[in-house]
């Protein structure tokens, strides 16, 4: 039984679900900045964009704690939060990260050293 258990355990470990934070959060796009349940206020940062470096793939943001840099990866989701103007939240691009805009950043694996998993950008016009 132990042999069976070990063998099947190793085998199934290979095909069981991946051990990363679950990727499918498609409805997240429609949740306004600051309202993501269980995340906002605990595992995200909300602040304003100071600068963006496309070459370095970083956005510099500031909040009450100061100024810091956030990495942007190829698979970082950028969502445009248009809820305050009554429009549908949309998928954005790096070009939507503009100085002065308010953003919320969720880090991959909730690790502030890691790149952003998603960035919500508040659109007011």
């Amino acid at each position: 039984m132990l042999k069976y258990g070990t063998a099947i355990g190793v085998a199934f470990a290979l095909l069981a679900g991946p051990s990363f934070a679950f990727a499918q959060k498609t409805t997240e796009r429609f949740i306004p900045i600051g309202q993501s349940p269980g995340l906002s206020g605990d595992y995200t940062n909300i602040g304003s964009i100071e600068a963006v470096s496309v070459q370095e793939r970083t956005v510099t943001m500031s909040d009450a704690s100061g100024s810091y840099s956030v990495g942007i990866a190829d698979d970082t989701h950028i969502w445009l939060d248009k809820s305050k103007i009554g429009s549908t939240n949309a998928v954005g691009t790096v070009s939507d990260l503009q100085a002065g805009r308010r953003i919320e950043v969720k880090y991959r694996d909730n690790d502030p050293q890691a790149a952003a998993e998603w960035i919500k950008v508040e659109i007011l016009e």
Partner: protein, 458 residues
Amino acid sequence: MKWRSHPGAGSLPGLLFLGCVGLICASSCRPATPAPDDELVARGRDLFFDEAFDGNGRTCGSCHPASNNFTIDPAFAVTLPAGDPLFAAEFDAGLGQNFENPTLMREVGLILENQDGFGDLENDFNMRGVPHTLGLGLSIDSRDGPRSGWSGDGAPGDGSLRSFATGAVIQHFPRTLGRVPGEDFRLPTDEELDALEAFQLSLGRQEELTLPLPLKGRVASRGQEIFNDATLGKCSACHFNAGANGDPGVFGAGAGNLNFNTGVEDLPDQPADLTGEPVPPDDGLGTPGDGTFNTPSLVEAADTGPFFHNNSVETIEGAVVFYNGDAFNNSPAGQLLAGATGGGINLDATQVVEVAAFLRVINTLENIRQSIGFLISFAERRFAGNEEFDQLLARALDETDDGIGVLVAGGLHPVAVAHLREARRLTTEAMESWFSGERLAREAAREQELARDELVGL
């Protein structure tokens, strides 16, 4: 908290009578004062069944009705009025396209999910069954965090059951597909999310079975042996104690709920496909998906079909047979199981029926457990946060009917069925009685116990 309704309560004699009764038993007829946790559960219950979050009229209970084991199927759908919000896509102009597929909803019990995003509503969607919400406290925890929904990734935010309601409102409740918060719906508040989570966690089993059970029926007993046999049924590796979690002896302590690609998507001639409606392949967990889906509990399976994430199999026997077939044995899960154990799963017809009989019996035992709980709560006037007091007997009746149906469809335990039918008669009488409801509820509970004694014992 609502009061139990009596027949004739609206008539003048009825009102006068109720007034007198009210004076006599104003205190003794009241359920006990709820504990704070019960109040949270009760608040969650009200939200679950009554709160539409300013959306299209749907509530959580639209797809998870208590009277149908918190799931929907075609037989249930046909009992609903045409204007039920479940069918919003049929009459709501803002939801006519790409919100649901009415044919698949009515004929196969499938709802539409945009698991991989909302960028291409015309082509990028999945059609999935509605998982019941029973025993969630025992079925969604995993090493990688909570797994909610069929692929384990149904919740936004932190991915928890608490956050699931937010995603569900966005996916299923909007007035239009613009999905603008504050216009097409409102998001649940933190307090509402707490209450909804508490309610959902209160539903169904709070403890795992411990197999093997001392079953009395020979067929179900043999089914249990096959189920647990690591060389024959091989079921318990992924359904430890017939639940939703991996066997700790195989996957290690705390493995919890696991995702597998068992090849369900490769089944031929699926009911949804036979309709001719568009049914894109469902790629499971992640975006793009890895083809895996999470493991459901089997204790509640027999009365919550159709089975698998796409309602592809109608009967519990068919669900067991699935693991004999090419779709499973050629799947990644089937191949690795074969490699680890020296072969695939290959049960003969008698063995398939025996495993199914085991699943039918443990389902009925859960029906009986719940029925007794509802009946005793009623008899003792106990506050039951997750059910309105005046619905306790109706819920006991639902569970009794399920137990009868599950056993009869498997040709199992006719004496237990007779006891359940007597329990049903007594429960119905209790619902109609002015003075003997408590006594009749206790007698019904006793019949439930006698039925249970036919199924399991020392």
